[in-house]
């Protein structure tokens, strides 16, 4: 019985404490980042999409070997002056796990991860990317959807 | 107390057990497992916690690995049971350790080891009508594409 009255008196006080917490938050300004109008810069180490400097690539295939999901494939051919030359460098984005191992392992830093993070498409074919194409990410690097 | 000490104590009671060279695990014959578990749980050693059960497919045999833990003595013991792959059956430890229930079901699901006297030996991770035991080395499935 004593407990009953105790709770009757002190219960509301503790309830009000909770209300005070929410009220304090009600009057503090919102912390929301209003995405399409405000955008935050990606961090220095941000792992976006895989990108390539074709000139730097020495075709060592280390990235292909270390990729846990086998999303990279490169072929090379013999160029006119008997030098190895990149023929194709395919990147299957839908398999990629953005772990960054390929970029870390690349000896010449030819392969790197860019800062693009707004990626969406209604066509799955667009997710198979030819890394040798310079305009491959044009649609996502400067998104136009509002 | 080290793993070797545990082995010596078990050896005193059950002379049939042996020690694996590489890992120093205690190898228990499959018919002795409940008795050893009972002894491990008892007053002398007080391994009150069955931490984990797993299995390894060694092609010709399946190794069951039991990891016991004693909170009282702060001490871990690894016990192994070798089972022939085509007749993998062993007594369940659910009457000593409740945690064995799900661990054993998992091993049954993935390796096909039958635990006798288990209250509910059904597949746990895969659907009930699943065919085959996925973690065996010779398992095949059309859905399973090998990484080139």
């Amino acid at each position: 019985m004593k407990n009953y009255f105790k709770r009757l008196i002190f219960g509301p006080i503790d309830l009000i404490k909770g209300l005070i917490v929410t009220f304090r938050n009600l009057i503090t300004p919102a912390i929301t980042l209003q995405y399409p109008t405000q955008k935050q810069a990606m961090t220095q180490r941000y792992r976006g999409l895989i990108d390539l400097y074709p000139v730097k690539c020495i075709m060592c295939s280390q990235c292909v070997k270390i990729c846990p999901t086998n999303c990279l494939a490169l072929t090379h051919k013999e160029g006119p002056d008997k030098k190895k030359e990149l023929e194709s460098f395919k990147y299957k984005m839908e398999l990629c796990c953005f772990c960054g191992l390929c970029a870390q392992v690349c000896p010449t830093a030819a392969l790197y991860m860019n800062k693009i993070y707004e990626i969406a498409t209604s066509n799955r074919k667009e997710l198979e990317i030819n890394l040798l194409n310079p305009d491959k990410y044009a649609e996502w690097a400067h998104p136009t959807v509002r | 107390m080290r793993q070797s000490k545990v082995f010596e104590l078990i050896k005193l009671k059950f002379p049939q057990v042996s020690e694996e060279d590489l890992t120093k695990a205690v190898i228990v014959p499959q018919e002795l497992l409940p008795a050893v578990a009972n002894y491990l749980k008892g007053q002398d050693l007080s391994f009150d916690n069955l931490h984990c059960i797993t299995a390894v497919d060694r092609l010709e045999r399946i190794e069951l690995v039991y990891i016991f833990y004693s909170f009282k003595n702060r001490q871990q013991a690894i016990v192994k049971v070798y089972l022939p792959i085509d007749a993998a059956e062993v007594e369940s430890l659910t009457k000593f350790y409740r945690s064995a229930d799900w661990f054993e079901r998992e091993v049954y699901d993935l390796f096909g080891v039958k635990f006798l006297n288990h209250p509910n030996l059904a597949r746990i991770l895969n659907p009930q009508d699943w065919k085959g035991y996925p973690l065996r080395k010779n398992y095949t499935n059309p859905n399973l594409i090998r990484k080139p």
Partner: protein, 320 residues
């Protein structure tokens, strides 16, 4: 006799009330989303209209043109009628709510009794929805709701009786007139009654922390789990209309209704009502939900005794 002119007046009044109800429900939905968002230090709807004011309209239109699914195995009649049984009482209660000195549809001399009687029939709709859906979550929700409303009706009524002791009339306008000298809430006995009323009324309209019938984390969506499209929207509108009704009653019974200095009556009335609604929202977004047995225990062990003792004390005061 119904003459043409009185018919026109009736139609006008009805459309005004219905218009007000839908506008108010829309506003409340928007406001609730805004209040909850700001409590959670975010913005809430922002991109549909200025600060998302058009958001409820978009939601309503979208719900209108959604497919109306009738699940297999529902009790057809019960299932179809349930949303109406929920919405119609909610609307009917507006007949006796005094918005201003002369701004009342019909000043019934049994006003408060009428409102209480009408609003508590809304439970039929909820229970029908729970029963007719042929879904176990809905059934559990409906059962909870029935038990809940029956228990909370008692402290609710007792607390209202306490008010009636002081006002001496059941008519809503007369209750407001009785508060000419001071608001009833300033009377210590009625102060207690006010809190008992607010708590039981919150339970009555299934608002958090008493939102057991639709308890999202337990019962998915409770009694309206199987409803889609417009029928779901009707439950939604009924919920917000009910919330307006109970707050309006609270404002009328305890806070002096439309009385207030300077500003015109209806404005005062709406200010008071929306303040109470704001408090209800604030509470909703703060507290965890109570469990069903605790809910019952709270009604019978705490609220009913308190309101009874309060009633006796109030009666003693008046007789003295």
């Amino acid at each position: 006799m119904v003459t043409l002119s009185s018919l026109i007046v009736m139609v006008l009044v009805v459309s005004a009330v219905l218009g007000f109800i839908s506008a108010s429900a829309m506003f409340l939905i928007w406001w609730e989303r805004k209040v909850s968002a700001h409590i959670q230090t975010r913005f809430g709807p922002m991109r549909v209209g200025w600060h998302g004011v058009l958001q409820p309209i978009a939601d309503a239109i979208k719900l209108l043109c959604k497919e109306d699914i009738v699940p297999v195995g529902v009790d057809k009649w019960v299932w179809w009628l349930a949303p109406f049984f929920v919405t119609v009482p909610a609307v009917m209660a507006f007949v006796a709510i005094p918005f201003g000195k002369n701004l009342i549809v019909q000043d019934l001399n049994l006003g408060i009794l009428y409102i209480i009687a009408i609003t508590s029939t809304g439970i039929f709709g909820i229970f029908m929805a729970g029963w007719g859906s042929n879904n176990k979550y809905s059934l559990l929700g409906g059962m909870r709701s029935a038990a809940q409303i029956i228990s909370y009706e008692i402290p609710l009524l007792i607390s209202i009786i306490t008010v009636l002791l002081f006002s001496g009339s059941l008519s809503m306008q007369k209750i407001v007139t009785a508060q000419a000298k001071y608001w009833f809430i300033l009377n210590p006995s009625l102060f207690v009654a006010f809190f008992v009323y607010i708590i039981s009324a919150t339970a009555e309209v299934n608002r958090a922390p008493f939102d057991l019938p639709e308890a999202e984390s337990e019962l998915v969506a409770g009694f309206h789990t199987e409803y889609s499209g417009m029928k779901f929207a009707m439950f939604f509108i009924a919920e917000y209309t009910n919330m307006f009704t109970i707050s309006a009653i609270a404002a009328t019974l305890f806070l002096g209704g439309w009385r207030g200095p300077l500003l015109p009556g209806p404005v005062w009335f709406l200010i008071k009502t929306y303040t109470i609604i704001f408090v209800l929202m604030w509470v909703r977004w703060t507290f965890p939900r109570v469990r069903v047995d605790q809910l019952m225990g709270f009604a019978w062990k705490v609220l009913t005794p308190i309101s009874l003792v309060n009633l006796i004390i109030a009666g003693w005061f008046i007789l003295k």
